[in-house]
C-alpha cells in the first residue's frame, strides 16, 4: 500500500542531512511551508543550501532557520524586503553566500531539473552582470546564456489538500514555486492543510501528481507570517 502520510513534522525531517540543498516553496509569505522550516530547525541539519525566491521575513520560518545559523548559501531572486532583517545582517557580516538568479530563470532551472533535461539556453540576463562567467551563444537573431538545472536533495512545500498517494492541490497564488520544486527534488515533503481520502481529489484537478511527492504532513492551521509580523510590531 502507498501511504505517504507521515505522523509528525519531526518524522518528516528524517531524510534531511547536513549539507543538503533544499527547495523551499513560497513567494513572500504566500505558499511558504513555515511549519516544515521550524521542524527543520528542530531537526538540526547544518550547512544547508536553500533555494527560495526571497530571503525570509521577520524572525520566523526561513528567517528563523537563517538566524539559527543552519544555512551556508541562499539561491534566490529577491533577497531583500522591508522585513528581511536576518538575511541582511548575515550577508553584511559575510556569514552567508548568495547566488542571485532572475526569477524566471530560477523557475525554469528548477523545472528543467524536474523534467530531467540538461542545461538550456535562455535570453534573460544577456548583457547584464548576472551573465558574467556564463557561456553565451547566438541562435538565430538572439544571444542566449547557458543555464543549468537546479535540483535539490529535498523539497519542502506547502499545499492545500493532499491524499495518501501524495496528490496535491494548492490555494490561489500560494501555488507559485511548489509544483516545480516538488518535481525537482530527490525527496519532496509537503505540508497540507487538509488530508483527504484517496479519490477525493478530482483527477482533472490534481496539480502535483503523487509521483512527485514522498511525504505528506498535516498542518491544519499554518502560521500566518503576516499576522506574526503584525504581532511583533505591537507594543
Amino acid at each position: 500500500m502507498i501511504d505517504k502520510r507521515v505522523d509528525s513534522l519531526a518524522a518528516a525531517m528524517r531524510p534531511i542531512r547536513d549539507g543538503h540543498t533544499i527547495h523551499v516553496s513560497g513567494f513572500g509569505e504566500s505558499g511558504c511551508p513555515t511549519e516544515l522550516l521550524h521542524a527543520l530547525i528542530e531537526h538540526g541539519a547544518r550547512g544547508l543550501t536553500i533555494v527560495y525566491n526571497n530571503a525570509g521575513n521577520g524572525h520566523l520560518g526561513l528567517a528563523a532557520l537563517l538566524e539559527a545559523g543552519r544555512v551556508r548559501k541562499m539561491i534566490c531572486s529577491y533577497p531583500r524586503s522591508s522585513h528581511s532583517v536576518v538575511f541582511d545582517r548575515l550577508y553584511r557580516a559575510g556569514a552567508i553566500e548568495l547566488e542571485v538568479v532572475p526569477q524566471g530563470t530560477l523557475a525554469e532551472r528548477i523545472r528543467a531539473a524536474g523534467a530531467g533535461i540538461g542545461p538550456f539556453y535562455c535570453r534573460t540576463s544577456v548583457g547584464t552582470p548576472l551573465a558574467d562567467g556564463k557561456e553565451c551563444r547566438r541562435f538565430g537573431d538572439h544571444d542566449y546564456v547557458l543555464e543549468h538545472p537546479l535540483r535539490a536533495d529535498v523539497a519542502l512545500i506547502k499545499a492545500e489538500t493532499a491524499d495518501r498517494w501524495g496528490n496535491l492541490t494548492f490555494r490561489k497564488a500560494a501555488r507559485n514555486f511548489a509544483p516545480i520544486m516538488a518535481m525537482a527534488a530527490d525527496h519532496t515533503i509537503a505540508q497540507a492543510r487538509r488530508l483527504v481520502e484517496l479519490g477525493a481529489i478530482d483527477p482533472e484537478q490534481v496539480v502535483t501528481p503523487g509521483a512527485f511527492v514522498d511525504a505528506v504532513v498535516r498542518v491544519a492551521n499554518p502560521i500566518s507570517e503576516y499576522e506574526a509580523l503584525l504581532a511583533a510590531k505591537r507594543p
Binding site: 524566471g104 528548477i110 544577456v126 547584464t128 500560494a174
Partner: protein, 221 residues
C-alpha cells in the same frame, strides 16, 4: 508643471489597448492599475502566478495567498487564473505578455534599462523578475520621474548602473514628458502642461529631440 505620480500613471494607462495582457512592475507602475481606462478589458499578470488581477481588496477581505509581485493583497477578476511559476514566466518569455511597465534607475538613449541595482558595494543584489519581464514582454515601457531626487538625469546616454536588459525600452513616461526611443535616441512626443521642450532636454542626459507633432499631455478634467 510636472505631473503627480497619479497623473503619470494615468497618462501611461491611456496607452494600454483593450484586451492587452500587461505586467506592472513594483512601485510606481503599480499605480497604473488604478487608472485603467473604463470600457477596456485589460488582463494584469503577476509573476507569482496570476492572470486577471483585480484591485486591492477591502481591509477585511485581505488574503495573503492572493498577493501581487509587490507582496500586496489583490483580488482576482472573473476569468482570472492561477498557475505555477514556470508557467507564469512562460507567459512572459513565450510572447504572450503584450506590455510591461517597469520602473527605472536609468534608461539609455539606445533602450538599455537599469532598474535592479545601483551597483553600490554595500547593496544586497536582488533582481526579482525584472530581467525576465524586460526581455520577454512584446513591448517594454518605463514609468519613472524624469530625474533622481537630487536632480540627476535618469534618461542618459549610457547606463552607468548594472543593466537589467540591453535595448528593450521603447517609451518612457515621466513627470515631464512622454519620450520615445528610436535609432536616433530620445524623442519627446508629449510634454506635461506648462513644460517646455528645453526644460526636458536640460534634465535629460542623452541625445534628445522634439518629435514631429509633439503635443501636450491631456490630463483628465
Amino acid at each position: 508643471m510636472s505631473l503627480t505620480r497619479d497623473q503619470m500613471a494615468w497618462r501611461m494607462a491611456q496607452d494600454i489597448a483593450d484586451g492587452a495582457y500587461v505586467n506592472l512592475g513594483i512601485g510606481l507602475p503599480e499605480l497604473v492599475g488604478n487608472h485603467l481606462p473604463p470600457g477596456r478589458e485589460i488582463v494584469l499578470h503577476s509573476e507569482n502566478g496570476i492572470l486577471g488581477m483585480g484591485p486591492e481588496p477591502a481591509a477585511t477581505e485581505r488574503d495573503y495567498d492572493l498577493i501581487n509581485a509587490g507582496k500586496k493583497p489583490v483580488t482576482l477578476l472573473p476569468g482570472g487564473a492561477y498557475f505555477h511559476h514556470a508557467d507564469s514566466f512562460a507567459i512572459v518569455r513565450g510572447g504572450r505578455l503584450d506590455l510591461c511597465v517597469l520602473g527605472a534607475f536609468q534608461v539609455a538613449a539606445i533602450g538599455d534599462l537599469a532598474n535592479w541595482s545601483t551597483g553600490a558595494p554595500d547593496a544586497i543584489p536582488a533582481v526579482g523578475g525584472a530581467m525576465d519581464i524586460a526581455v520577454g514582454a512584446r513591448r517594454c515601457v518605463v514609468l519613472t520621474e524624469h530625474t533622481t531626487r537630487d536632480g540627476k538625469p535618469k534618461l542618459v546616454e549610457r547606463c552607468t548602473y548594472p543593466l537589467t536588459a540591453p535595448g528593450v525600452v521603447r517609451r518612457v513616461y515621466t513627470d515631464l514628458a512622454v519620450v520615445d526611443i528610436d535609432a536616433g535616441g530620445f524623442v519627446v512626443v508629449e510634454l506635461a502642461p506648462g513644460i517646455g521642450f528645453e526644460a526636458v532636454a536640460a534634465r535629460t542626459g542623452g541625445p534628445i529631440r522634439r518629435g514631429d507633432g509633439c503635443g501636450i499631455i491631456a490630463l483628465p478634467g
